[in-house]
């Protein structure tokens, strides 16, 4: 029973919901752009780009507040039920997840701003941070696609993708420790990268949370706290 399936004339609530959906997509695109810029800033050690990410974060926060207010207005004025209510509840949570993803991009950008001049780009390679960025960005993009198309099949594919982020994150401490042993003068750089990896692992978690909310509003299924193996199957 997707929102997009109504053949009848749209009600005022339908129009509000469509507008809210557009706003969400706009915020999503902004956050994705922030992640991509943070990645580029890190790889190229581009402090100007990093400053741009930090200053754009205010717009992400403003978006979050507006979407929260719009949801509040719709709840108060229309008292939605069933799928409309579930959509509003999902949007409130996805809004929060997106804002936190924006915070992650800002956090990495701040690291870039503080990177020492002698930062060793080899660290990016050995820690596989570029892979993490690629996977995390893909997950955020795909879950946005799932939201726009109300495609729960697409949303379910997100859960498996988090495995790579978890794996790289789990290996990161050892990799960084070995690097610091060999390059003690580069400890600060190494620790910045470790922090970035921790943040990027959380991008995966945010994407998963958003996927859970899409499945909740479309299918009225709660996947929160279920084991990963049961999230990917439509029977659960």
């Amino acid at each position: 029973m997707a929102l997009s399936n109504w053949k009848q004339k749209l009600t005022p609530l339908d129009n509000e919901i469509q507008q809210l959906k557009s706003e969400m997509i706009n915020m999503w695109e902004m956050v994705l752009s922030q992640l991509r810029k943070a990645e580029e800033a890190l790889i190229k050690k581009d402090k100007d780009l990093a400053h741009e990410v930090v200053s754009t974060e205010k717009r992400v926060n403003a978006f979050e507040l507006k979407i929260d207010r719009d949801c509040e207005d719709i709840l108060a004025l229309f008292a939605p039920v069933a799928i409309d209510l579930r959509f509003l509840l999902a949007v409130l949570k996805i809004n929060m997840n997106l804002e936190r993803t924006g915070d992650i991009a800002e956090g990495i950008a701040k690291f870039v701003i503080d990177l020492p001049e002698d930062f060793d780009s080899q660290l990016l390679e050995i820690t596989r941070v570029s892979e993490m960025f690629k996977q995390g960005n893909e997950m955020i993009a795909e879950v946005m696609d799932a939201f726009e198309k109300e495609d729960t099949g697409l949303a379910r594919k997100i859960f498996k993708k988090d495995d790579l982020l978890d794996q790289i994150n789990a290996e990161a401490a050892n990799v960084i420790a070995r690097y610091i042993e060999k390059n003690p003068s580069k400890t600060a750089s190494a620790l910045y990268i470790l922090s970035s990896i921790r943040k990027l692992e959380r991008v995966g978690d945010q994407a998963k949370n958003m996927a859970e909310e899409i499945i909740f509003y479309s299918e009225a299924k709660v996947l929160k706290h279920k084991p990963k193996s049961r999230k990917s199957s439509p029977e659960d």
Binding site: M1, V81, A82, A220
Partner: protein, 252 residues
């Protein structure tokens, strides 16, 4: 599980050849408040009028199938006896215009020729008006005509009149739709209090009211019972697409 107080099994109702209710299967358990909902013409009022056999007062009206009250076929019962057990309150408050508040409450007994002592009558009037949350407002003016009361008070008087007969089931046919919000709220509060002693079926067009007040909801459409479930389920995750379309305002 306790037997249902009201049970419809393959129940059909007709006005002449018009098939108004189609194979209705529904179980109503004691002390539940059921909201009966659906778009205009769906059969919801016809359904409750079958429960107290007002449907048959219309010429050419017929029924078939089973409709039981506490295991007894409603259509085998004496309709007068039935209508004591199944009280009804209508959309427009209708206290008897020539009677006092007191006489309105006790009217069921008088009209049925049931003799009561003065003390018994006083007791019934006071109890019923208290149950209808009207006693404190009218206790010193019981001799006044019922029609002198406000709309909300008149409706509560009608509820008291129905309760005076100690019914099993109370049928409310859009009982608040002609009232102001405050009176509506008072009657909704009353419904919550009454359900500990009575089973209530209320026809309503007001979905927010159904969501606020009822335990269970039955959705009718074109004479069929499309879905009947806990109100929470109907309003958060209805199983049937038509139910979802109706409660989200896409028709009705």
């Amino acid at each position: 599980m306790e037997s249902p107080i009201l049970k419809a099994t393959n129940f059909n109702a007709f006005f002449g050849k018009n098939h108004i209710l189609k194979n209705i299967n529904l179980e109503v358990h004691k002390n539940n408040v059921w909201a009966i909902m659906g778009p205009s013409g769906c059969g919801k009022t016809t359904f409750i009028r079958c429960v107290n056999r007002m449907h048959e007062l219309v010429p050419d009206a017929t029924v078939n199938g089973s409709l039981k009250l506490k295991g007894e076929e409603i259509y085998d019962m004496n309709p007068v006896v039935l209508r004591r057990k199944v009280g009804m309150v209508f959309q427009r408050p209708n206290p008897f215009p020539t009677m006092s508040i007191y006489d309105n409450v006790i009217a069921g007994y008088n009209l049925n020729g049931i003799k009561l002592s003065r003390m018994e009558k006083d007791d019934i009037v006071e109890t019923s008006l208290k149950q209808a949350a009207l006693w404190m407002e009218v206790r010193s003016t019981l001799h006044k005509k019922g029609t002198f009361l406000s709309g909300g008070q008149q409706q509560r008087l009608c509820i008291a009149r129905a309760l005076a007969m100690n019914p099993e089931i109370l049928l409310l046919d859009e009982a608040t739709s002609a009232l102001d919000p405050i009176s509506t709220s008072m009657i909704e509060d009353l419904i919550q209090q009454l359900k500990s002693e009575y089973t209530i079926l209320m026809v309503t067009h007001n979905m927010q009211q159904a969501a606020r007040v009822s335990d269970k909801t039955a959705f009718f459409y074109l004479g069929e019972l499309i879905e009947a479930a806990n109100t929470k389920t109907i309003f958060t995750n209805p199983k049937h697409e038509k139910t979802q379309e109706y409660i989200t305002g896409h028709f009705g």
